[in-house]
Amino acid sequence: MTDQADQSRRNFLYIAAGGLGAVAAGAAAVPFIGSMFPAADTLAAAKTEFDVATVEEGQLVVIQWQGKPVFVSNRTPELLAQLDGHDDMLKDPNSEAIEEVSAEWMTAENRKYRSIKPEYFIAVASCTHLGCIPLYKPSAGRKEWGTAVPEDWPGGWHCPCHGSLYDLSARVINGSPAPHNLHLMPYKYTSDTKVVIG
């Protein structure tokens, strides 16, 4: 029997059957892995509406979007002025690393503001290092904040976890462990002060 068997045909059949089995097993894994991704209702809750007029001048509020915290800050002209003059301290002064989300409205002038309306700044409140929520320390210098911030602090956010620093447009400052500026998310104004985030 054995010597009559065509071994190469037999091997082909083994490999074909085994290969098919592996493909089937792989296909069977799809629904299981797939089930672990965000469910439809989680995705559906992906938009948030907010009225920026509720934020007082110079104040910061934290709202929720997709279960993530989001910063909305109202920047006075003084605070906006604090955005100038420290581009050389920034890792990515023009926010070029992750363009897509803001591509629609980002123009040469509002690159430093990183927002549609300069006075209302909106960004995801998770430090791009490991996701802690940075603390808002808007005034410049060390007067109010002590040694947690550098001498030439331009005002912005300080992450308590590993010390990342961001300026008032949440652009990350050199020497921080965080790799990127705080992420922006897609949003648009539906009226003068109403924004839809997501």
């Binding site: 892995i33 672990m36 991704f37 965000p38 469910a39 989680t42 992906a46 934290v62 929720q64 997709q66 279960g67 993530k68 915290p69 998770s126 290092h129 490991l130 996701g131 802690c132 929520i133 308590p160 976890c161 590993h162 010390g163 020497g175 462990p177 965080a178 790799p179």
Partner: protein, 405 residues
């Protein structure tokens, strides 16, 4: 005792259908073990004991624990409240929960001692490479399981710890973002995360039990190393596992349980080391605690992560520091096993133990400039230890090993 049981009719009936007598003989009563094992060899059986304790207490806790982040009338969450209910209302709930929480730390104490013993006496070397590698898999599953479990009380440290660690996976190129969503089941840590972590926290110990079976089986094929690190051949240098080492292990269990019970009853939180203080504050996704640190047994790796400016490098280094354990048997080229006969290795390995403790300390403390530097040096030594091993035999003059034990 065992003999009398084995002579009964009932046992004979079972034996004919299972071969139980042969198993008992080959694995216990006639399983040969070097006669000179010291107390460092107790930690394997202790680890098995703690695993059983964790599984048993965990099963009972799961009868009352509810993995849901839904808000309750009190303004907390279902999960947080169910843990507090276990502590206050469930009969003996406080005891079972403290046993489980202290057990987690005890598990790592015991396993780290077990690993340290393997390192010092060269137990990972030929022919025990695979035994060691299976052990590293066990360590990884334990760490995963502990991480999943830590989310369940849904306190501040649970929540932010899970956020930070799942965020790590996001640092990986291309797959990072998907992997992160897969772990979280959403865009941030939330209810879906809690549910799946509970499921995985229940699954991992089962995996653990199976793999521990493989570990013990592999051990019984290659047999125990010993403090001298030499192969023992002649029968007069070995004794049977039962009753000699069962008794010795039982003594170890007695000592262990004394300490364990002391901690469970008198100091279950261990000054914030076993249960962190921040975890008594319910999870709040809008506020980060001032200082986030993992539980003590994960802090050495957390320091390695923090030692790098670049997030991706940090993640790679942390992964690498665990992965390098897999190749340890192949990095160490010396034929001599035991640290007793390797003066330079002995110094290096003792420094390595100190180094890991330093790493752990740095990871547990709030970050500061000095600690960062200390952490970086310690991280450098962690890797240097492994990477120097292949070259060590070129310069090291080993001492002569004894003929027998």
């Amino acid at each position: 005792m065992l003999d009398t049981i084995m002579q009964t009719k009932l046992f004979a009936w079972v034996d004919r259908r299972t071969g139980a007598a042969d198993i008992i003989k080959s694995q216990l009563t006639e399983y040969p073990v070097p006669k000179n094992l010291n107390y460092m060899w107790n930690f394997g059986s202790l680890a098995l004991l703690v695993l059983v304790l964790q599984i048993v207490t965990g099963i009972f806790l799961a009868m009352y624990y509810k993995p849901s982040a839904a808000l309750t009338y009190g303004g907390y969450t279902v999960a947080f409240d169910s843990v507090e209910r276990i502590m206050r209302d469930v009969n003996f709930g406080w005891l079972i929960r403290y046993m489980h929480a202290v057990g987690a730390s005890a598990f790592f104490v015991v396993v780290y001692m077990h690993i340290g013993r393997g390192l010092y006496y060269g137990s990972y070397k030929e022919p025990r490479e695979l035994l060691w590698i299976i052990g590293v898999v066990i360590l990884l599953i334990m760490q995963g399981s502990a991480f999943f479990g830590y989310l369940l009380p849904w306190g501040q440290m649970s929540f932010w710890g899970a956020t930070v660690i799942t965020e790590l996976f996001g640092a990986l190129p291309i797959i990072g973002e998907y992997l992160q969503q897969l772990l979280r089941g959403g865009f941030a840590v939330g209810d879906p995360t809690l549910n799946r972590f509970f499921s995985l926290h229940y699954l991992f110990p089962l995996l653990l039990a199976a793999i521990v079976g493989g570990h013990v089986h592999a051990l019984h094929v290659v047999h125990s190393n010993n403090p001298e690190g030499i192969d023992v051949h002649s029968d007069d240098q070995k004794i049977n596992f039962h009753p000699y080492y069962t008794i010795k292990d039982a003594f170890g269990v007695g000592v262990f349980l004394t300490i364990y019970c002391y901690v469970v009853f008198f100091n279950p939180q261990m000054a914030g080391y076993f249960i962190e203080v921040d975890n008594y504050v319910p999870a709040n996704n809008l506020q980060t605690p001032a200082h986030i640190a993992p539980v003590w047994y994960l802090t050495p790796w957390y320091t390695i992560l923090r030692s790098f400016e670049s997030k991706l490098l940090g993640v790679i280094a942390m992964g690498g520091s665990l992965a390098i354990l897999f190749v340890l048997p192949f990095l160490d080229r010396s034929k001599v096993r035991s640290g007793r006969y390797r003066p330079m290795f002995r110094l290096m390995v003792v420094m390595f133990f100190v180094d890991v403790i330093v790493l752990g300390y740095c990871g547990h403390s709030a970050p500061s400039e000095t600690l960062k530097l200390v952490g970086q040096i310690a991280t450098a030594y962690y890797f240097a230890f492994f990477l120097l091993l292949p070259f060590l035999p070129m310069v090291e003059k080993t001492k002569p090993e004894p003929e027998g034990i």
